[in-house]
Amino acid sequence: MRSAGAHYLLMLLPLAVVAAFWAMASLERRRDGGVSFTQRNGAAIATYLVVAVGLWSLFMIVLPQLSMIELSFRPKLPTAQIGGPRDVYTLQNYRYFLFGSTTDTSHWNSIHIHAFFLTIFASILVTAFDLALCYPLAFYMAQAARPRRVRLLLLLLIAPYWVNEVLRAFAFRVIFATGGVLNAVLTGLGLIGQPIDFLGLDIGMYAGLSYAYLLLMVFPLYNALESLPASQIEAARDLGAPWWHIHLNVVIPFAKPGIASGCTLVFMLTSGALAAPLVLGGPRSLWFTPIVYDRFYQAFNWPQGSAYAFILLLTCVAFVLAVLRLTKLSLGEITR
């Protein structure tokens, strides 16, 4: 199928959806009797609202995504041939991800597939580690600390994140390098004879990734835990519950939206992380997002890069849906 015509049709699809909703709303309003949008807001404000929201939702969110998805199904062609007879829809970019070649399906693309699953698995582990590390602090700040101390702790928490994430990854490199602080301390204490290549073993990268998004795990947890009435915990304690029972059955169910929110954000940012793997990754380290980056700026194959990016996007969507399903929450509750 020729792609040029279908391309334009795809761009008109969102406008069709908007028009359909507008028609439904007008019909219902005419039937029930009410004020139109322009009458409610005045012509000038109404124009501003429509233009702003239209520009934002269509030209900055929906249409760019559709363009990227559409490009992923097209072959890589020199500029002159785009729109010509060879520009047809194809699955060859996805075939490349699975099999390492656009035509031959006999061997799996083990490197990329391995990197993909490793990224997902490692992101889940990093998320779990961050949750375990941040939960006590969030609980302490929300329930047990005095207000002045909470303000101080908040300031202490935010301070490291003033430094750019690239520089924070660089700080980890200083620590984990073969001539770095950690190796110096370990050899100084006599625990090892030779410096360990932490960066080559990816330990530096995983540590950097765990560190990078701690703040984004603490804040949703803290917000959720802050609204838990202390009387509930006191009541549970009065009824004889031990501390682990209180957390498991009183606190955590209440804080579910915050936990889901924090975990979703951290997973998304970790699996889509670019700075930490680029700075801290060794020559053989595998992380999916730098591979996506390479498809664009090393292989200069934009359709293929779009395909890889779309695979990453689908994974994140799948994760968010899984979290929403498991915790029985709605999207609105975890994005607050």
Binding site: F21, A25, E28, R40, N41, I45, L49, A52, V53, L55, W56, S57, M60, I61, P64, Q65, S67, M68, L133, P136, Y140, A144, L156, L157, A159, P160, W162, V163, N164, V166, L167, R168, F170, A171, F172, R173, V174, I175, G179, G180, V181, A184, Y211, M268, G272, L274, A275, L278, T289, Y293, F296, W302, G305, S306, A309, L312, L313, C316, G332, T335
Partner: protein
């Protein structure tokens, strides 16, 4: 050794470990900024120097990237705050059946990896500017502003929605009943109420834009911002000027936070003094009234 002591000790230990983990790398990097060795390291500490900070001022590429980052930040604030405000206002008025789809669409950039936002922005605007003949728009700064604004507007919208929940609906109605035009209601009733939200949204937008890397690295095309320059430097070879930059950033923000706290304390003291003076005056008046009886 009571249960309470155990809890206190373990809390203290946990905090020490947590904040040690949080600040440790930065402290280490800070030390390397003062070390004379040309590779950032803590041991061996060859000598104390402030030379790396001086080298920062001479670093043209870094300063150019900094200028770009500041400019992009300002543009993002100017674009994202109005868009977020419009998004929040529409959210309250939109056709009920379209609301969940609308919410899903405008919140989706927050849940999308930054690289995908950058990639999709470049691809779409390359096609659009080619088609409509507006090629002059296809440059790094414009694309970065557009890409970053897509999710930063969502942050702003969430801030405005939270603030609008406490808005008294009867106020604009009263204004309209008294004969005000819609514009007057908007500028004289709604916006003043939203002022704290506008300020915090603007600050948040600027900071989010300034430190963004994932989206910027795709959208900036051949141009540079501070974060992309840093990323390039860190990958090619490392030098303590980067550590010096981090120390400078931390020092600036600590100074800013301290100044903010000092000003706030002074304002609180003024306000408390004002309250105390008013209370004393009231007591004197009451005493005059009561004494004659």
């Amino acid at each position: 050794m009571t249960a309470r002591t155990v809890i206190k000790l373990s809390t203290a230990l946990y905090m020490a470990v947590f904040f040690g983990f949080l600040f440790g790398p930065l402290v280490v990097m800070g030390i390397t900024a003062f070390n004379t060795s040309s590779y950032p390291q803590v041991t061996p500490f060859e000598g104390f120097t402030l030379g790396w900070f001086a080298a920062l001022a001479d670093d043209d590429e870094l300063l150019y990237g900094l200028g770009n980052s500041l400019r992009i930040g300002v543009f993002v604030v100017l674009l994202a705050v109005p868009l977020g405000l419009a998004g929040a206002l529409v959210m309250q008025q939109i056709y009920a059946r379209a609301r969940s789809l609308y919410y899903l669409i405008v919140v989706s950039p927050v849940l999308t990896p930054g690289v995908i936002i950058g990639i999709s922005t470049v691809i779409f605007w390359r096609d659009l500017t080619g088609l409509t003949g507006t090629r002059f728009l296809y440059n790094g700064v414009v694309l970065t502003v557009l890409g970053q604004s897509s999710f930063i507007s969502a942050y702003c919208m969430l801030i405005f929605l939270a603030r609008l929940q406490r808005f008294d609906r009867s106020l604009p109605e009263a204004g309209l009943d008294l004969g005000a035009s819609h514009q007057q209601v908007f500028f004289h009733i709604l916006l003043p109420f939203l002022r704290p939200a506008i300020l915090s949204a603007a600050v948040m937008a600027f900071l989010s834009s300034f430190e963004n890397y994932n989206t910027t690295t795709f959208a900036i095309l051949a141009d540079k911002t501070l974060t992309t320059v840093l990323a390039g430097r860190v990958r090619q070879g490392t030098s303590p000027t980067l550590s010096a930059l981090a120390v400078a950033i931390v020092a600036l923000t600590v100074a800013g936070a301290v100044a903010f706290e000092v000003l706030k304390r002074r304002e609180d003291r003024h306000r408390a003094a004002g309250h105390a003076a008013a209370a004393a005056a009231e007591r004197r008046e009451l005493a005059q009234v009561v004494r004659p009886a």
